[in-house]
């Protein structure tokens, strides 16, 4: 407490993280413009940063920020009369009841803002926006992340990211995207856009090997948090639980999946004692919700079920490969892709022997999208080697090495090629 200023800024940052999604969501309902709502909330934050270090943190910081944002909104709208109708709405809302405004706001914030938050999520992930814009806007408005943090996470200059957010807000306003929870036919497609955004954020943190070490795990945590929030807001959507289950189980392996010098460690070679049992338990619980009657067949739930097979196995040889193979078959049916098919081949090989797996791999040989995918020859080489067809295996490993983009991986594949030559 010797230096109060840095402490209070960290505290304000924490308050912001807790309060800003609710604040933006409530403001967006009032002004019917998500971009404006976010600007108003940011303005309130600026006022807080000016005043709280001197005055201390108010007892109810959420209500304080809301009042500041509304005042700012009224000022702004008075000056810019172009939004006249909104002006009236806001004006009525506050000036007529100015004295009790604060207590009303307390109540407004205590009210279940869940629907507003859900509207905000759907709006930030609206298909009218580019994928990058959806990611940036979601992290900014729902994650309470700063532009700088998001820029560091995506390895782009802060100015570029700021521009992306400005353009996204403008796009939403120009397209007159209504602030609502989609219903009917629209809902499934819109929901899958939301799930896609959350999983992309997760994978940005999970799969990338470059970038800011601090922000990468933060992205995984942020995606998990958003998923958990969404599961609370829309518990009837079973596929949301599937996505949460998938992320919880994948995140449980974060500490086990890289070695001491940062090299990736494959699933079957990981030290399972380093898997996070709390996250596994949460993942399995979420999966149970996703697999309730009527669910269980969505792509996220199926991937979570596969991840759960690994999570339940104490040792790699206890893995239920037959179940994994049948889950991949189901996944290939609901969301067909050559990569899924290749994974299925691996599972079939583990369950029923290399020859059965190889038959599936051969069927993918002419798949154009896998032409430059090093894992295809790598898997093929592995199965051929298991069948004792060493010279064919060696050629496959060499081909895989020539396609691998990562030096360490290339070294590993060339090593396997050499081993085939020796035998």
């Amino acid at each position: 407490m010797a230096e109060p200023t840095p402490d209070i800024h960290r505290t304000i940052d924490a308050v912001w993280r807790i309060e800003s999604p609710k604040l933006i969501a409530s403001l967006a309902r009032m002004v019917r413009d998500v971009g404006l709502a976010e600007d108003l909330a940011q303005d309130a934050l600026v006022v807080a940063l000016e005043r709280w270090p001197a005055e201390g943190i108010p007892d109810n910081p959420g209500a304080w920020l809301m009042t500041a944002a509304k005042r700012r909104g009224i000022d702004l709208l008075r000056r810019e009369t172009l939004l006249e109708r909104k002006h009236e709405e806001l004006g009525r809302d506050v000036t007529a009841r100015q004295e009790q405004a604060v207590s009303d706001l307390d109540r407004a914030l205590d009210d279940d803002v869940g629907d507003d938050l859900l509207r905000l999520i759907f709006t930030a992930c609206h298909p009218v926006l580019s994928r990058e814009a959806r990611l940036a806007l979601t992290l900014r408005m729902l994650g309470g992340l700063t532009t700088d943090e998001i820029a560091r996470a995506f390895l782009v200059p802060e100015a570029t990211l700021a521009q992306r957010i400005v353009r996204a807000k403008r796009t939403l306003a120009e397209a007159r995207v209504p602030f609502e929870i989609p219903r009917g036919e629209d809902r499934a497609a819109r929901l899958s856009s939301v799930l896609e955004v959350i999983y992309l954020i997760f994978n940005e943190g999970y799969t990338a090997t470059a970038g800011d070490d601090w922000m990468r795990p933060a992205l995984c945590e942020e995606a998990l948090r958003l998923g958990r929030v969404l599961a609370e807001l829309a518990p009837q959507e079973l596929e949301v639980h599937g996505l949460v289950a998938l992320m919880e189980i994948q995140a449980s392996r974060l500490k086990a999946r890289t070695g001491a010098s940062g090299e990736p460690i494959l699933l079957l070679d990981q030290n399972r004692a380093l898997w996070d049992q709390l996250l596994i338990r949460r993942g399995l619980a979420a999966l149970a919700k996703a697999e309730k009657p009527g669910g269980g067949s969505g792509p996220y739930t199926l991937q979570a079920a596969i991840a759960a097979c690994h999570a339940r196995a104490r040792t790699p040889d206890q893995t239920d490969w037959a179940r994994i193979a049948s889950l991949y078959a189901e996944l290939a049916r609901v969301s067909p892709s050559p990569v899924v098919e290749l994974n299925r081949a691996v599972a079939v090989a583990m369950a029923s022997g290399p020859a059965a797996g190889l038959a599936l791999v051969e069927a993918l040989a002419s798949e154009p999208s896998l032409k430059d995918y090093h894992l295809l020859p790598s898997v093929r080489g592995d199965l051929l080697a298991k069948l004792g067809r060493n010279s064919e295996a060696r050629a496959e490993f060499e081909r895989a090495a020539s396609l691998a983009r990562n030096a360490r991986e290339r070294e590993l594949l060339l090593g396997r090629a050499r081993a085939c030559a020796r035998d």
Binding site: D7, T11, R225, G227, A260, S261, L278
Partner: protein, 151 residues
């Protein structure tokens, strides 16, 4: 970061007095708020120490002591585990909690971040490069032994 928010016991919790219906519902609402914010990983309440025991080690040798234990303000009554961005965020969440032993009563929530792998790596920065990775390996081994012990 993962943080444990620990509620300290008091005479009433140690006596096994159940919280009032009102306290339970206020606490339930708060727990729901933590869940809706996506930060809650786990929570639990502990029975009084009269239902528990201690295994004490004197000069390395274990002896068993049955509860109850007297220093009630130092005992753990319950906990939340939250996933947050900073210690300050956990503090802000704890400030928003209802007074744990009911309104107008004294209580304490202790906030303790978990060790993460990064903490060990950070502490090892001063070591030479060779010693560094070796020491991390040792830490990993230790982590492995600890978590295997937990199985």
């Amino acid at each position: 970061m993962r943080v444990m928010m620990i509620v300290k016991a008091n005479e009433e919790t140690e006596a096994g007095v159940m919280p009032s219906e009102e306290s339970l519902s206020t606490m339930g609402k708060y727990n729901e708020e933590l869940m809706k914010a996506g930060v809650l990983l786990d929570l639990g309440g502990l029975k009084p120490t009269s239902k528990g025991a201690r295994v004490k080690f004197s000069e390395g040798k274990p002896t068993v002591v049955d509860g109850p234990f007297t220093e009630s303000k130092e005992l753990v009554g319950g906990y939340w585990i939250v996933q947050v961005k900073s210690l300050e965020e956990a503090i802000e969440w704890a400030r928003r909690a209802p007074a744990p032993h009911g309104p107008h009563k004294d209580a304490e929530i202790e906030i303790r971040p978990f060790y993460e792998l990064e903490d060990f790596e950070q502490a090892l920065v001063e070591l030479g490069p060779g010693e560094h990775s070796e020491a991390i390996e040792r830490m990993r081994e230790r982590g492995k032994i600890l978590s295997e012990g937990n199985k």
